[in-house]
Structures are given as C-alpha cells and as structure tokens.
C-alpha cells in the first residue's frame, strides 16, 4: 500500500527513507525525498496548533485527540497522500501512499495508523542497538527488511 516511509530525526534530518518500486533509479529517490519533505511544514504546523489549543483550552470537538501520536493525513497531492506520526521523543514518521495504485487509493485511516504504530515499534528496536548512536542514519539491513515487508503486506 505504501510507496515510501521515512524516519526523520529531532532536527529534521532524515534518518531513514525507504521506498519500494524501482529502487535503483535516482529519479525515484529524489521525488521520494521531496514528497517527504513537503509534509514537514504541515507536520510542524499540526504540532504547534495542538499545543496552543491545549493551553487555551478552547478546543473544538474534532480536535480532542490532539495528544495522540498519530497526526493523520497531512498533505495530499494529485498522485500521493502523506500521513504523519510524531513520537514523544520528537521523531517524525512519515508514510506516503500512492492514490494511483489500486490498493492505495481507498486506504482506511485505521490501516495507516497500525502501519505507523508498527513502524514506531521497529524504530524503537533499531535504536536499541548499542552500536547505533542517537542522531545517526539507520543503516541496519534488518530494519530495512522489516520496513519493506511492512510496506508490502498492506498491514
């Protein structure tokens, strides 16, 4: 379902960007990075608005679950939809689905939520590797493999 997932660190530096499809092509890599980074502004905005509404306590009913880690649909283009998730430790997880592919066009919110939750679990496991330094890119082939299978099997 997903065409691309990304893990972005506290300082907005990408820790991991993985995609499926023609992986070797540079074009794909670039468009992937671009897609993920367009979502970052929307993501920050969402976070700030959640903080202010919490303090003002002027909450409307649709925004009651602002303390939820899952932020929902951030941004959609003609061909892609971008979903975001921010952990308590300010790690941003971004998932991109393609609206042109048959499985990605009518994807449910709950499915994306589970996928991002599982990605968070995988990330936490990868970070617990004692050889991994915080803030470094994630180069673990095991993590890569698990994420790829997560993207493929529609959760």
């Amino acid at each position: 379902m997903a065409v691309c997932v990304a893990v972005i660190g506290k300082d907005n530096a990408p820790l991991y960007i993985g995609g499926i499809g023609n992986d070797t092509s540079t074009d794909n890599e670039l468009s992937r990075q671009w897609l993920v980074h367009t979502a970052l502004d929307a993501l920050e905005e969402r976070l700030v608005s959640s903080n202010t509404t919490n303090t003002n306590s002027a909450t409307n009913t649709t925004r009651t679950d602002l303390r939820d880690l899952y932020l929902g649909l951030l941004y959609s283009t003609d061909s892609h939809k971008i979903y975001g998730y921010v952990t308590n430790t300010r790690i941003k997880l971004v998932l991109v689905t393609s609206s042109t592919s048959p499985s990605g066009s009518n994807i449910r919110d709950a499915e994306v939520r589970t996928a991002l939750r599982r990605l968070h679990a995988l990330y936490a496991d990868a970070i617990c590797n004692p050889f991994h330094l915080p803030g470094d890119q994630i180069t673990s082939p095991k993590f890569d493999k698990q994420v790829k299978s997560l993207m493929l099997n529609n959760v």
Binding site: K10, L66, N88, T89, R90, I91, A124, P134
Partner: protein, 157 residues
C-alpha cells in the same frame, strides 16, 4: 526475583571497574563521568521504548510525573516518593528507599561511598529527559541512607 539481582550486581561491578580504572590517577577525586555516561545512553534508549504507548506529554511537569511513576517503576520497581518543584525548572525527586542503597545501611555507615552508587541514576534521568528534548543537569544528594534526593535543573536556551 532473580532477574532483579542481575541488574544490581552488574551495576556494582560497573562502579568497581570505573573505580579500578582511575585508581592510578594521582588526584584523589574519583571520576565517575564514564558511569554517568553509561546511564545517559541507557536512559536515552529506554525512553524511546517506554513512551511508545503514551499520549503526547502536555508540558514539562507532565514529563517529570512520567519520570517519577512509569520510568522509575520500570527500573527500580517502585515510584518516587516525593516530587517537588519551584515551577522555574528545578525539580527535586526524593526516593526514601533507593534500591542501590537499601542493602548497605540504615543510617550514616558507609555514607562516604554513597555518591558512587547514584552517578549511574543521574545519567539515566538526564538521558531520558534529553531524548524528550529537555536538557538538564542532574545531581544527587544522600543525607541518610537509604534515602536519596535527585535535583534536576532544566537548562533553558
């Protein structure tokens, strides 16, 4: 439980090792920064796992409450007994029966060795907070064993 003792023994061996290493240093001051750093790295990594199922923290106090309850329970099998703050970035966490000190004495005996056994925990708290984007300086104070106070000074930029 057997699995609790493993952590305690490993911890005291780390302290012994660190002390052994800077024995040949000429100055009397014992250097526990390496132990503190081990704690920092552990705290940083534990935090990523612990906060996985948690909703987003509202503010700093909310985060400190998390440290006192869930974080402490996870590592020391009990909660912090007392949390105090001046609402300006200073927090004092008091544990009346700190796990690493409970087996030593119930008063002033061995008091001079107590600082060694709190360095790791200072790092642990600092690392946990650092991963939650709160930079801090953590110090500890032992007046009578086995109670221990941790002072957290949040660094504002």
């Amino acid at each position: 439980m057997a699995d609790d003792i493993v952590f305690e023994l490993l911890h005291s061996e780390i302290i012994n090792y660190a002390l052994e290493k800077n024995k040949d240093n000429t100055n009397k001051e014992t250097d526990l920064s390496v132990v503190e750093y081990i704690g920092f790295a552990a705290g940083y990594k534990i935090m990523e796992r612990l906060t996985r199922e948690w909703p987003r923290f509202k503010d700093e106090l909310d985060t400190m409450k998390f440290i006192c309850t869930d974080f402490w329970t996870c590592i020391y099998k009990k909660q912090i007994d007392n949390l105090r703050t001046n609402h300006q970035g200073v927090y004092v966490l008091q544990d009346n029966a700190f796990r690493f000190l409970t087996n030593f004495s119930n008063g002033h005996q061995y008091l001079e060795f107590a600082p060694r056994y709190v360095a790791y925990t200072c790092g642990l708290i600092r690392g946990g907070l650092a991963n939650l984007c709160i930079n801090s300086v953590v110090t500890a104070e032992v007046q009578t064993m086995p109670s221990c106070k941790f002072h957290i000074h949040v660094q504002r930029t």
